[in-house]
């Protein structure tokens, strides 16, 4: 049963990831990326990581993708017309490079696959919010605070970068 769910979620994730790359409309890409995130959250649930699955849906499929869609609609981009109309050498080189990286990863995985561990039996107790919170607020409390600082700095920096500043020199020249 679990393997059928895994196969379904894996095919869904890979197909929608391909659709992110292939689709011409940027909004479609973003919506397919949401589908990939949700499928990956299902895979996380299969791995008994409930907390990370919920965080994935809330933060990635919720917050970050809303930000992406907001920027796409703000910029009002039209669809890319030249994609795949003519076959270019660049696409073949990119495809061969990607397949080479994939083959390298799979080969290195295949040589160590007999050393990989079996699934741990106590995982059902470990992935819960309670267990993660226990570790997060005791051992990892300093990185947690640093992440809070990082998010504040990122929000402030984004405001500064995206702010519309009018150059006073050009205004005088006009």
């Amino acid at each position: 049963m679990i393997s059928y769910i895994f196969i379904f979620l894996a095919i869904l994730a890979v197909a929608s990831a391909l659709a992110v790359v292939i689709s011409r409309n940027t909004v479609n890409s973003a919506l397919f990326l949401v589908l990939t995130m949700v499928a990956l959250a299902g895979v996380y649930l299969l791995l008994q990581a409930q907390f990370v699955a919920v965080i994935q849906v809330i933060v990635y499929a919720g917050a970050i993708m809303v930000l992406f869609l907001f920027v796409i609609m703000l910029l009002n981009l039209d669809a890319e017309k030249s994609l795949f109309n003519k076959l270019r050498v660049k696409y073949f080189v990119a495809f061969i490079f990607g397949v080479a990286v994939l083959a390298q990863i799979l080969y290195s995985m295949g040589t160590v696959s007999n050393m990989l561990p079996e699934i741990s039996p106590q995982m059902a107790q470990i992935g819960t919010v309670e267990a993660i919170g226990d570790v997060l607020f005791k051992e990892y409390i300093l990185p947690f605070h640093i992440v809070a600082l990082l998010l504040t700095a990122a929000a402030t920096g984004a405001l500064l970068i995206a702010q519309h500043t009018i150059n006073p020199v050009t205004e005088k020249n006009d």
């Binding site: 679990i2 393997s3 894996a10 994730a13 890979v14 990831a17 391909l18 992110v20 790359v21 940027t26 890409s29 973003a30 990326l33 990939t36 990956l40 895979v43 996380y44 791995l47 008994q48 990581a49 907390f51 990370v52 965080i55 994935q56 933060v59 990635y60 970050i64 930000l67 992406f68 920027v71 910029l75 890319e80 080189v93 495809f95 490079f97 990607g98 990286v101 990863i105 799979l106 995985m109 990989l116 561990p117 079996e118 699934i119 741990s120 106590q122 470990i126 992935g127 267990a131 993660i132 570790v135 990892y140 990082l150 998010l151 700095a153 990122a154 920096g157 984004a158 970068i161 995206a162």
Partner: protein
């Protein structure tokens, strides 16, 4: 039970789709989304190792990586908006100010 190899293989396939997307697309926003895809693939492999070892530290690392990805998305989209304001385009082949 599924063996860990399948989770790692799914992670590798998603990572390579992200690489191909970064290489062939010209729209800066789509390139950014492909980078997010690669981050997610790495998160999946971290989580599968964490869950197969029965160790919670991998999930904590995924939590921090999610937070860093959120910060990165915010700053990157702000940079894209600033580029669009100057160039009226997010086509990366037209952004060649620093090209030799």
């Amino acid at each position: 039970m599924i063996s860990i190899d399948w989770y790692l293989a799914l992670s590798a396939v998603l990572f390579c789709i992200g690489i191909i997307g970064v290489l062939i697309r010209k729209n800066a926003i789509v390139i950014f989304m492909c980078v997010e895809l690669m981050l997610n693939a790495v998160n999946l492999s971290l989580l599968s190792f964490s869950s197969y070892h029965g160790n919670v530290d991998g999930q904590i690392l995924v939590f921090f990586s999610l937070a860093v990805a959120a910060a990165e998305a915010v700053v990157g989209l702000a940079i894209i908006i600033a580029i669009f304001r100057n160039n009226l385009s997010v086509d990366v082949s037209r952004i060649n100010l620093l090209r030799w």
